[in-house]
């Protein structure tokens, strides 16, 4: 019998790191956003997308819940919320 041993090379997209989140997830309020892109630039996973103000959002399949986007947002328009509160956990 064999367990998982061999990994074929793949892109980072194949590694859904969203499962790493343990307690908190960012919530993009999309109210006071000025489109400064700081959240997009600081995200270590590179999983935040957006163009205009109030359009920025993260991909929860990859977001590890590190909280850097919420910390750097100059308008405090991103907040960290409990995984279980406000809707479904991904």
């Amino acid at each position: 019998m064999f367990g998982p041993l061999i990994v074929k090379p793949s892109k980072a997209k194949g590694d859904k790191t969203g499962s790493w989140r343990v307690q908190l997830r960012p919530k993009f309020l999309q109210k006071n956003c000025i489109g400064c892109k700081m959240c997009l630039l600081i995200c270590p996973e590179g999983c935040i997308q957006g163009k205009e103000k109030n359009t920025y959002i993260t991909d929860y399949n990859f977001c590890k819940g590190c909280g850097l986007c919420a910390k750097i947002c100059p308008k405090s328009d991103i907040i960290m919320i409990e995984e279980t509160s406000e809707g479904e956990k991904k």
Binding site: M1, G3, L5, S19
Partner: protein
Amino acid sequence: MKQFLEGSRAVAEAVKLCKPGVISAYPITPQTHIVEELAQMVADGELNAQFVNVESEHSAASVVLGAVATGVRAFTATSSQGLIYMSEVLFNIAGLRLPLVLTCANRALSAPINIWNDQQDSVSLRDSGWIQLYAENNQEVVDFHLMAYRVSEDKTIMLPVMVCMDGFILTHGMESVDIPEAEKVDIFLPPYKPLYQLDPAEPITMGLLADPDYYMETRFAIQETFKDVLKFIPKVSEEFRSIFGRDYKDGLVEEYYTKDAEKVIVAMGSVCGTIKEVVDELRQKGKKVGLLKIISYRPFPYSRVCDVLKDVSKVAVLDKAVSLGALAPLAVEIKATFFGKKKSPKIISSFVAGLGGRDITLESIREVFRKLTQKEVSSEFIDLKPELLKEEYGE
């Protein structure tokens, strides 16, 4: 063909017949002669292999790990401190499911430094995921190497095998050994065909991080595979018998006058030869004694041991290693075999002997049989010198 050979030379001849593509080793007493002979064979062009000289056992094990990962048959040998130094890589080789054969020339562990024989080194690595076979004499050493590659490389097994031979007693002992014919070995042991291999043209990753979501399955799989090994070794042993003529029965244990025995010693390795002599002697006097030799220590053949010993009233387990602070390693397995069983020996006594090369003589074995009475003893040291012991530290 029968030849009068030193044990190490016999191993080298056996390995040569298995045609490894890569050999890497670091010399350590009493393994040195094995790799010395192999290096000579490679230098003389008798063996078409790459002999990689390295700066340590850790590197030697790493080299053979890498070699097997690229799909080449490989070989290494070591002893004692060298084996312990390799241990990190040995767990990796098993975890990566790489088939490899390693000869362990059994030797005591430091400190105090001691180059002589006991089985502490390999026994200490019993949990590493390696199959461990213990040889009684040099003929077995030769044959077990062939069987080891055959078991190791089977697609259903894919686990490394450690062939353990007692240092000096076997490695430096001269014996008449039947070296198998190359053509027969080629039939018994076809070239190694890897399931996966490292290849730049088709890249894969072996041994990648396995987080809590994946790790347990890798361990469970090895545990399950060991059950298959217990069924597979007898098949290989039978195949071996049909090609080479030597019969190791199921290849897991050897029974010697156990059928009607009242007292049986359980042991591993070269000491079994000495025990057989005492058994013969006592049998001539009409005493019903016997020997159960454990060949496969990992996987441990619990049900076979149970079958052999369940009707024996007194069993002595002779260990050439200790688990300091606990029962002796082989004794633990024998006791575990019978835990909760209705039919079991009345007495299972445990003896420790021959540590650091202290000779286990015929008299030592007679003493074990004598001490195997109604009173069960636990980890009793045989041939101890009490005059060397004192109660407090210092002079």
